[in-house]
């Protein structure tokens, strides 16, 4: 914004225009909406339908101003939210134009005639644009003496969004959000005239992962959250900026709480990351932290009864320290950290492993993983940040082409999906190397490159030959390849991605599913890396770390440690004596049986956990730790961007992992200097980074096993809303999960003799699941299952994964919800 000093000649840069608003000369970029230009001058024009991230609608008419063009006043007041600036324009807002002021007062009065005026019982009261603007631009009394329009209420739009049509001002923000941003037109305008209303879209199931945003942007109290409604008044809440703990997008959030209890979460505004949106998991899934079964005190296993009993921190830490020290001095201890830690906590584990346990047997990957993946992460992902040319949300938006490889953006990183869709709505060409035209493929206007699970590397290698348009597009400057967690289940795929990136010049980003994975990689919670991207195998790097940590030279173990799988195999076979486990669920791992055996056979198990998990049953010591809201710290999102957050709920007494480990280390005569997240961050900072150079993996893909009669290749990935334990205690959210169905191609359905509406049984030697089946454009001979939804928990029921061979048959009985009651896996 440029404010003109009086009577001076203002420079108008290329692509800009000069106009006058309320007497102030202002230079504005061409195409800017008047309402924004005015805002930059500090002049706020009242509005309802206007939203900076939605296309203009001009529906509410609240923002009318007077406009003069070329010395001629326009005959009618103009909507400042739809009119763009022009050179020489003279604009008068309500501040200087009685006409604009009257027009605004008139619209406000009309908006209120049918409004129930029930502010005292409305969730929005106190933060309501209608309430605020009515006070500022409305009449103090009403001239309306007739009958108000009424509607039955509330109208459930879904299990989590409830609509009060009487409060609605029909601004269409919700419907435009759904159509434009999310691409899920689940909510629509119905009827016309004074009967026009918002309603559930006909024939479109409410399965939007983004519906909560409509509640937040509704400028009145018409859309309310089933979980929050009538629970608090905005002015009684304390708002703390926070960062979402669920996926690797790292959304800015605002957590509103009262009397030690979180009441709701809202999207924070971060143009670089989540803009003003968050997904429904990020918004609604926070009650897991107050579940009744949460650990509040440490537990130790009673030697006599064999049961866990509550105890003091002193005893628990002593028992843990003694057990771990003994194991360390014998065959050793493995550390499994899980993918949800903050950078500071993950650093504490990485340091604890090296300093207190003297091992590199540490791995954050509580999911399918491979050595090839670690090579790829080390060579291609490690150390990339927005500051050094790494792929970012904004780079995705600007990319001429994006190729998603083994990555389901909507399910795995919903905000990446929103950016992809935004980009695709402009000009970005989106390709998906996957198995079928998922909703995300459609909503990103994407091109599906379908292959049999396991066939992804071959597909990428043959891209030039079979889909030259894709490689051509990827050669465009700024093009991006996004690779997801599933790639670790496909041997040769990371190598193929690296090769494709090298040959096309496209940049690569790895988008894991969990918030803590990228941070854990950077701080060395992996067997081959020390904090700051240093290779364990690099003597100079080791001595840097030894120096910084005040260790005697040569103390750090010199060989790369075992990965998760290696740790489990070792523990199960007696090659490791103890395990330190943090939020790891065996049912997330490719072989839950192995994990369970490992926990069972490990001589000593220390579990740092919020709530009981499968590890609890085998733990000798359980140390309760703080959930994200009760601690401070930071996540590193997939971009490598640091997302710091402070403590929302102070003084609950819950301790962050880094603090627990610090004290535990002291008991073991080691100093971590991670008493607090801030201390841990400072320690990490002092160490700095020194990112290793490494070469990309060159694993070749094995030959694919061909399914025989009655067999199919399994395609599977997890959905955003599923059995994940961080979604516990939120039934309204669960009500909007996608239906649990298997998918096969039409030809495969015929081949199997599947009738419409029949159930399918998918089985392996280890178990089976039976569920309804739908036809999708999968390759023939492939069956798709959701990874961990309802009764279908692929790891637990089938001990299978993406690319496994499974038996498929028409079910003889009704779909048995075999394990509907037990939940597997973390989200």
């Amino acid at each position: 914004m440029t404010l003109a000093p009086e009577k001076s000649e203002v420079e108008v840069p290329e692509g800009h225009v000069k106009l006058v608003i309320d007497g102030f000369e202002v230079v504005a970029p061409k195409g800017e909406l008047l309402i924004r230009t005015a805002e930059r001058l500090g002049i706020v024009v009242p509005r309802f339908c206007d939203h900076p991230l939605l296309e203009p609608a001009g529906a509410c008419r609240q923002c009318l101003v007077e406009v003069e063009m070329g010395g001629r006043p326009m005959p009618k007041p103009q909507a400042s939210c739809t009119m763009t600036v022009a050179d020489g324009m003279v604009v008068k807002t309500q501040l200087t134009s009685p006409v604009a002021d009257k027009a605004q007062q008139g619209v406000m009065e009309l908006l209120l005639i049918n409004h129930p005026l029930d502010c005292p019982i409305c969730d929005k009261g106190g933060e309501c644009p209608l309430q605020n603007q009515a006070l500022k631009h409305g009449r103090s009394d009403s001239r309306f003496h007739e009958h108000k329009r009424t509607f039955p209420k509330p109208l459930p739009i879904s299990t989590q969004v409830l609509l009060d049509r009487e409060r609605c001002v029909l601004c269409q923000r919700c419907t435009r959000f759904s159509a434009q941003i999310a691409g899920d037109p689940f909510i629509e305008l119905l009827e016309r005239g004074s009967q026009q209303q918002i309603g559930v879209a006909e024939g479109k199931p409410f399965q939007s992962y983004f519906s909560g945003n409509t509640i937040q942007i509704c400028p009145v109290g018409a859309l309310t959250s089933a979980a929050y409604r009538f629970r608090a008044r905005p002015f009684d809440l304390i708002s703390t900026p926070s960062v979402c703990e669920h996926c690797s997008s790292g959304c800015a959030e605002r957590t509103d709480w009262r009397r030690g209890k979180v009441q709701r979460k809202l999207a924070g505004d971060d143009p670089e990351v989540n803009e003003e949106w968050i997904c429904d998991k990020g918004r609604f899934a926070f009650r897991y932290a107050t579940a009744g079964d949460r650990f509040t005190r440490p537990l130790v296993r009673d030697a006599e009864s064999g049961e866990l009993r509550e105890t003091s921190w002193t005893e628990a830490l002593q028992v843990a320290a003694t057990g771990l020290a003994a194991a360390r001095d014998a065959k050793g201890v493995g550390v499994l950290t899980g993918g949800r830690l903050t950078v500071e906590d993950a650093y504490a584990y990485a340091k604890f492993a090296r300093v207190a346990l003297k091992t590199n047997d540490v791995d954050f990957r509580a999911r399918a993983h491979s050595a090839e993946e670690l090579e790829f992460l080390t060579s291609t992902v490690l150390g990339t940040t927005p500051d050094n040319g790494g792929v970012t949300f904004t780079a995705i938006e600007a990319a001429p082409a994006v190729l998603c490889v083994a990555f389901e953006p909507e399910e795995e990183a919903p905000i990446v999906f929103l950016r992809l869709r935004k980009a695709a709505r402009k000009k970005t060409k989106v390709f998906h190397l996957g198995q079928y035209t998922s909703p995300a493929v459609e909503k990103t206007f994407g091109t599906l490159l379908a292959c049999v699970p396991g066939g992804e590397p071959a597909a990428l290698n043959a891209l030039e030959e079979h889909a030259a348009d894709v490689t051509e597009a990827l050669r465009g400057s700024g093009s991006v390849i996004l690779v997801g967690e599933r790639a670790a289940e496909v041997p040769g795929l990371f190598s193929a991605v690296a090769r494709l990136a090298a040959s096309t010049g496209a940049k690569v980003a790895w988008i894991p599913r969990r918030a803590g994975e990228r941070g854990a990689l950077e701080v060395g919670a992996v067997p081959n890396l020390l904090p700051g991207g240093r290779l364990v195998s690099d003597a100079a790097a080791r001595s840097e770390v030894e120096n910084a940590w005040g260790l005697v030279a040569g103390t750090l173990p010199t060989r790369a440690g075992r990965d998760t799988n290696g740790i489990l195999v070792a523990a199960a076979s007696g090659a490791l004596d103890a395990l330190v486990v943090a939020g790891v669920d065996p049912f997330d791992l490719p072989d839950p049986g192995l994990a369970q055996r490992a926990l069972e056979f490990a001589g000593f198990v220390v579990s740092l956990e919020l709530r009981p998990s499968a590890a609890t049953a085998h733990a000798d010591v359980v140390l309760p730790i703080a959930p994200a809201v009760e601690k401070s710290g930071s996540y590193l999102n997939w971009e490598g961007r640091r997302r710091d957050f402070g403590t929302t709920l102070e003084g609950t007494g819950a301790l962050p992992d880094c603090r627990v480990l610090d004290t535990l280390a002291v008991e073991m005569d080691a100093d971590l200097f991670t008493q607090t997240p801030a201390a841990a961050a400072a320690d990490l900072d002092r160490l700095g980074s020194n990112v290793a150079e490494a070469s990309a993996p060159t694993v070749s893909a094995p030959l694919l096993v061909q399914p025989t009669a009655g067999q199919a290749v399994l395609a599977t990935w997890r959905r955003m809303l599923d059995n994940g334990s961080l979604q516990d205690e939120e039934p309204n959210l669960a009500g909007t999960a996608r239906p649990v169905v298997a998918k096969v191609s039409a030809a495969t359905a015929v081949h199997l003799g599947l009738d419409l509406g029949a159930d399918i049984t998918v089985s392996t030697e280890r178990g089976s699941v039976t569920l309804p089946v739908e036809v999708a454009d999968l390759p023939d001979g492939v069956v798709w299952l959701p990874g961990n939804s309802g009764p279908v928990t692929v790891r637990r029921n089938l001990v299978a994964g993406h690319g496994s061979l499974v038996a498929v048959a028409v079910s003889d009985g009704p779909s048995a919800e075999k394990s509907a009651s037990d939940r597997g896996g973390n989200a």
Binding site: C60, K76, L110
Partner: protein
């Protein structure tokens, strides 16, 4: 002067089976098309500009200029859409025209499409006009069979397909951008402008939307020339026009007359006021145009004449009321129509009509107060020029003009109520 009138647009209406291609061809039908196809499209546009033809759908926008806005050589498909929604209360010219002489519209469509370089045209007909839709369908089929539609029309190399589309019966779908949305299968609500249909209309491609009568005038211009066209009507509003007379007249119906004809002259054609009961008020161009009274009998009914007298030419739908009719009652009825037909998109029109109806109904029921008149006028002021499209403007016309000329009648309704009694503060 009325007797000097030779019908143009309606000249075939009384011929036997006037709607068939046979009759049409016998009466010069499709001769203009042959002529047009021999000319350069730009020449047709120029001729239309020269003729001074202005849109007959209500707003009177110069037709040739509208065609000229279509970007040429842009590589995009162009479309012609015929607005046959005829929703304005009192308007009854397009449907009779399409019933009696559908081929004149089709011929106009082909010439216009050729001029703007469109290969697809749609006729959006009000859904309730089933008989008319059938007749148009039949005519389109005949035209295809005769080689006037389809590929390589009359060997000119020009292709055109025409589709007759039945609307779902909403007044707003006559507004051109709502019509386009409706035609695309969406909810019929007006679009934000710009972009205008000429740059992004049907399926975001350059589109001309014209009224039935506008396009049916085109073959006559091509055959008769622009100078001939200008011999009718007035300088800035040339040409013939179909006036629809309804209400308390002896012979209601469609009367073709040159632009600028007055109600006094039209009444003469229609046999005068019914039963000799004197005229009280009338609409010059449908209910969206401010009312006139007996004082306006000599206002020349063209775009300028109506505007100078404080109203609009609209669709030349003359609804004529004699002295037996209560103005507040008529105004209430019209307002009920607008409330029913408001699309709901914008606040002033949606909420304003909802409010106005209730005030008027209360007043007509005898429960009004003088202050209600102020409220009515102020609410109208808050709608006029504040709504998203012109529907809101039209909705307040009967009220403001009704009160302007007949305030006493509104006041009389309030006689027995002091402000304290009803609708009280």
């Amino acid at each position: 002067m009325v007797d000097s009138l030779t019908p143009v647009l309606t000249k075939r209406w009384l011929s036997p089976r006037s709607w068939t291609i046979k009759t049409y061809e016998q009466l010069e039908g499709y001769t203009a098309l042959r002529k047009a196809l021999g000319a350069h499209p730009d020449q047709i546009i120029q001729q239309c500009k020269d003729s001074g033809l202005r849109g007959r759908g209500g707003a009177g926008f110069p037709t040739g200029m509208k065609w000229g806005f279509i970007p040429q050589g842009d590589g995009k498909p162009h479309y012609l859409v015929i607005n046959a929604d005829e929703g304005e209360p009192g308007t009854c010219k397009d449907i009779p025209l399409m019933m009696a002489d559908p081929h004149s519209l089709i011929e106009g469509i082909i010439i216009t499409s050729y001029a703007i370089r469109a290969n697809f045209a749609a006729i959006y007909v009000r859904g309730e006009a089933l008989h008319c839709i059938r007749r148009l369908d039949g005519a389109v089929k005949e035209a295809y069979a005769a080689g006037y539609l389809g590929k390589d029309i009359l060997g000119s190399g020009f292709d055109l397909d025409v589709v007759v589309h039945a609307g779902a019966g909403a007044y707003i779908c006559g507004e051109e951008t709502a019509l386009l949305d409706s035609l695309e299968g969406k909810r019929g609500q007006p679009r934000l402008k710009p972009p205008f249909p000429a740059t992004a209309g049907l399926y975001a491609s350059p589109t001309v939307v014209n009224n039935v009568e506008t396009i049916a005038s085109v073959p006559f211009i091509v055959n008769g020339g622009s100078d001939w066209f200008r011999t009718m009507g007035r300088e800035r509003s040339p040409g013939p026009k179909i006036y629809s007379l309804s209400g308390h007249v002896t012979r209601p119906g469609q009367y073709e007359a040159p632009m600028g004809t007055t109600l006094r002259e039209l009444l003469e054609l229609a046999g005068g006021m019914k039963d000799g009961i004197p005229l009280k008020f009338w609409t010059p161009g449908g209910s969206s145009t401010p009312l006139f009274t007996a004082d306006h009998l000599d206002v020349p009914l063209d775009f300028e004449g109506a505007a100078e007298a404080g109203s609009m030419l609209g669709t030349t739908a003359l609804q004529i009321f004699n002295e037996t009719v209560s103005v507040p009652w008529a105004v209430m009825k019209w307002t009920e129509f607008y409330k029913h037909e408001s699309c709901g998109k914008c606040t002033p029109c949606r909420e304003g009509t909802y409010w106005l109806v209730q005030i008027l109904q209360r007043m007509v029921a005898g429960n009004g107060t003088a202050s209600d008149i102020d409220t009515l006028l102020d609410v109208c002021d808050n709608i006029l020029g504040r709504s998203f499209c012109a529907l809101g403007d039209g909705a307040v016309s009967p009220i403001t003009s009704g009160i302007k000329y007949f305030k006493d009648e509104f006041l009389a309704l309030c006689d027995k109520n002091s402000a304290v009694l009803a609708g009280a503060h």
